[in-house]
């Protein structure tokens, strides 16, 4: 059977500065990060013949043709899965490159400055939120923190998961961010800080919630043959998959609220890459909320359902621990670039370019995406 394993590599990564706001437009930020990724791959924009923009971003393939003067765009697609989009785009890009449709696919994502009041409006207008918008927003369920609080509360009631265990995820990300000059939040966070942070949607405190950021990141996917010419040590995509949960359009209607789409994708990606959980040296896990990290670790099979709270405790997910998670600080402490920053970080870890926060001898790693009420995506990469 045709397999996508090891057909492609991430040849270039790039990003802008990250901050709470930017004077630059979303398109400018996206193009700036794209250019950085293309340069990093040792290519010029004229080499790009495939583009996957961020579906939720309002930026389209035409913007890249116009601004870069792409001479022959042969492939464009969208992967509309919220925060699962960037890693799902790796699957789409790999399919395009492995089948010879395109040579170098650019995957780019930018987020402009967003004022709090507009988030609920933006969500309400997304087609995949239609049922939530019709039936739940009128009663006061308006934002992701509220949607996911129901999942987290049920997990706590069923399995005894605690707020202190969720704090482990937040504190780990913060510790890692202190070793990352690009990170927005580098002030140390204690358990007391986490517990004292204001309640947003019980059981989620402010420090269980990701940042809002302006900035952009991008990667270039090329065939393994072409990757040999790239200036960096190639980082190969060994396995990649997307998965969708039951009742993807309303969490309330999901038979098992604690099971995410990645539960379907992870076995496919692991098998494709031919690796076991114990082979994973570093994991960049989508962290819009602390609970979502814990739940994905369970759904990927790093521990049984209900054991995520114990799994993330006692330093296991810290640098130097058994499974270092979010070595850049994640969405919780680096920046919310919808997980494109997670892909960039994994590639740099596998290149060995992460300095103080480098996972020693990292050879195999994974990156996940999560979005739109439970969609999941995962890529296993190796050097």
């Amino acid at each position: 059977m045709f397999s996508l394993a090891d057909k492609t590599a991430v040849t270039g990564v790039g990003e802008t500065a990250y901050g709470r706001e930017s004077r630059k437009s979303q398109l400018t930020l996206t193009l700036e990060a794209s250019l950085a990724a293309i340069n990093d791959a040792g290519l010029t924009p004229k080499d790009i013949d495939g583009v996957i923009p961020y579906a939720a971003g309002g930026i389209v393939a035409e913007d890249f043709v116009t601004n870069f003067g792409l001479p022959d765009l042969r492939y464009s697609a969208l992967t509309p899965m919220g925060g699962a989009s960037p890693v799902a785009a790796l699957q789409s890009a790999t399919m395009a490159v492995a089948t010879g449709v395109a040579n170098h696919v650019l995957v780019a994502l930018g987020r402009g400055s967003i004022s709090g009041g507009r988030i609920t409006q933006r969500l309400a207008e997304m087609p995949q939120m239609r049922l939530v918008s019709e039936f739940e927003m009128p009663i006061g369920t308006n934002a992701p923190a509220q949607f996911y609080a129901h999942m987290a509360r049920r997990h706590m009631e069923l399995f005894g998961t605690t707020s202190e265990q969720l704090a482990e995820v937040a504190m780990t990300c913060r510790r890692h961010a202190q070793m990352n000059e690009r990170a927005m939040m580098r002030k140390p966070m204690t358990l007391a800080d986490h517990q004292a942070s204001r309640m947003i949607a019980d059981p989620l405190h402010l420090f269980d919630c990701c940042l809002e950021s302006a900035g952009a990141a991008a990667v270039v996917i090329s065939s393994v043959e072409r990757a040999k010419d790239s200036p960096h040590r190639p980082v190969l995509i060994g396995g990649v998959a997307e998965g969708h949960p039951d009742s993807p359009s309303a969490i309330t209607q999901r038979p098992d609220m604690t099971r995410l789409g990645i539960a379907r994708a992870a076995p496919i990606a692991f098998a494709m890459a031919g690796v076991e959980h114990s082979d994973i040296d570093v994991a960049e896990i989508y962290d819009c909320f602390t609970y979502i990290v814990l739940c994905q670790l369970e759904d990927m099979g790093f521990c049984a359902k209900g054991e995520g709270g114990d799994f993330v405790s006692n330093g296991r997910i810290s640098l130097g621990g058994e499974l270092p998670v979010n070595t850049h600080g994640g969405l919780l402490s680096e920046a919310h670039i919808a997980g494109m920053n997670h892909i960039v970080e994994l590639v740099r870890q596998l290149r060995g370019d992460c300095g103080e926060r480098q996972v020693k001898d990292a050879e195999v790693g994974l990156v996940t995406g999560f979005g739109d009420l439970g969609d999941g995506s995962i890529a296993v990469m190796h050097r």
Binding site: T120, F135, G140, N142, Q146, A149, H150, I200, M257
Partner: protein, 140 residues
């Protein structure tokens, strides 16, 4: 302070469609109506065109009891939509209805301390105005 200064933005309201109108009409009459498949009699919610069991496009509407058990909940402290600013903190419960479907609504009394998975609740009808009634729940 002027009166207009106190004015909060209007809360989001459902958009009526052919598929969901009977549900909202039912609530306004203080009845919980859900779709029943014309092919296999399976109940479903939220309203949608097709039965995922037998793929029948036919359905009618049937009234449910409104009794159920708590599946999960949250207490919203932050008003993500400014229209809810004066109500925070408010408790929203997701409920397993006796007939097997799920429904979300605001908990009467806003006290989450007595909540637990499986706690019995019953439906309430919260009349917003003449056009709109929202589902809610109270402990029994």
């Amino acid at each position: 302070m002027s009166a207009s200064h106190d004015q909060l933005p209007e809360k989001p309201r459902p958009e009526y469609s052919d598929e969901n109108q009977p549900y909202w009409d039912g609530l306004r009459e203080h009845k919980l109506l859900v779709q029943r498949c014309g092919g296999c009699n399976t109940l479903r919610h939220y309203p949608r065109p097709l039965c995922d069991g037998c793929y029948s496009l036919e359905y009618d509407w049937t009234e449910l009891s409104g009794s159920g058990k708590v599946h999960s909940w949250t207490v919203s402290h932050h008003p993500f939509h400014p229209g809810f600013k004066r109500e925070t903190p408010y408790v929203t419960v997701t409920v397993d209805l006796a007939e097997g479907l799920r429904l979300q609504g605001v908990l009467e009394g806003n006290d989450a301390s007595a909540l637990a998975i499986g706690r019995e609740v019953e439906l309430t009808f919260n009349d917003v105005d003449a056009e709109l009634t929202l589902p809610g729940f109270r402990l029994v």
